[in-house]
């Protein structure tokens, strides 16, 4: 049983790698990127397509990104303080 699980995992990995090789570069299977290029300016009004994606289509992801940054800054605040600072109560 212990031998079987890694073998199955390796076979799955090989299957996914082989199927990924078949996709030609620059010809994605989904039509989403072409939709962004065709309708991006009309939908969002932003000429920079990167901004159109990360602040309009994917704005929710950007909120998570900002949250990660905020948490990192708060972590630095939490760790790097003088002994006794901010512990008044």
């Amino acid at each position: 049983m212990k031998r079987i699980v890694p073998i199955i995992l390796l076979l799955l990995l090989a299957f996914f790698l082989l199927s990924a090789i078949k996709i030609n570069f620059g010809q994605p299977k989904t039509g989403l990127s072409q939709y962004y290029l065709n309708h991006g300016v009309a939908d969002t009004g932003a000429l920079n397509i990167v901004t159109a994606i990360y602040l309009d289509y994917r704005a929710y992801d950007t909120l998570g990104e900002a949250t990660v940054f905020f948490a990192a800054a708060l972590g630095v605040f939490m760790l790097l303080r003088k002994p006794g600072e901010g512990e008044k109560d």
């Binding site: 009004g45 901004t51 309009d56 704005a59 929710y60 900002a66 940054f69 605040f77």
Partner: protein, 142 residues
């Protein structure tokens, strides 16, 4: 006691406002040209960091206090969330555009994207500067 060379000091003081200006330009034109909130904010923050490295942390804090920068960072996060809820208030999906748009190619052409860029830019810039302040202060304790 002055430890930095005169050349570096003078050059930094001359360069500093232009770095801030360039950061603001990248933030405000994020939807028209390469760049955007994160990149412009990092340039904004690195101007403050350069000042802190060259002139010393005391001099940098005379102009940009850590508490004020920290406040801007915290308020930025809040404003980002509030803008998302404002879209819902106007009957759109969370964080989607609800503002009137100008002509394409001008600054007010993208509606909410401009304001989101502004928020992210100032948040990232002040956040990076505050992290730098903290690291320097922690390292220079006697």
């Amino acid at each position: 006691m002055k430890r930095t060379s005169e050349i570096v000091s003078i050059f930094t003081r001359k360069l500093f406002p232009f770095m801030l200006l360039y950061g603001c330009y990248l933030i405000s034109h994020g939807h028209l040209s390469p760049g955007g909130g994160f990149q412009g904010g990092v340039i904004f923050g690195s101007a403050i960091i350069l000042l802190g490295l060259v002139e010393g942390i005391k001099e940098a804090e005379n102009r940009f206090q850590e508490k004020a920068l920290s406040l801007i960072k915290n308020i930025g996060m809040l404003v980002f969330l509030l803008m998302g809820f404002m879209s819902m208030f106007f009957g759109r999906a969370f964080l989607s555009d609800f503002m009137p748009r100008g002509e394409i190619g001008t600054v007010p052409s993208a509606g909410l994207i401009f304001f989101l860029n502004l928020t992210i830019g100032f948040m990232v810039g002040t956040g990076i500067a505050v992290v730098f302040y903290r690291l320097i202060k922690f390292g220079s304790e006697e």
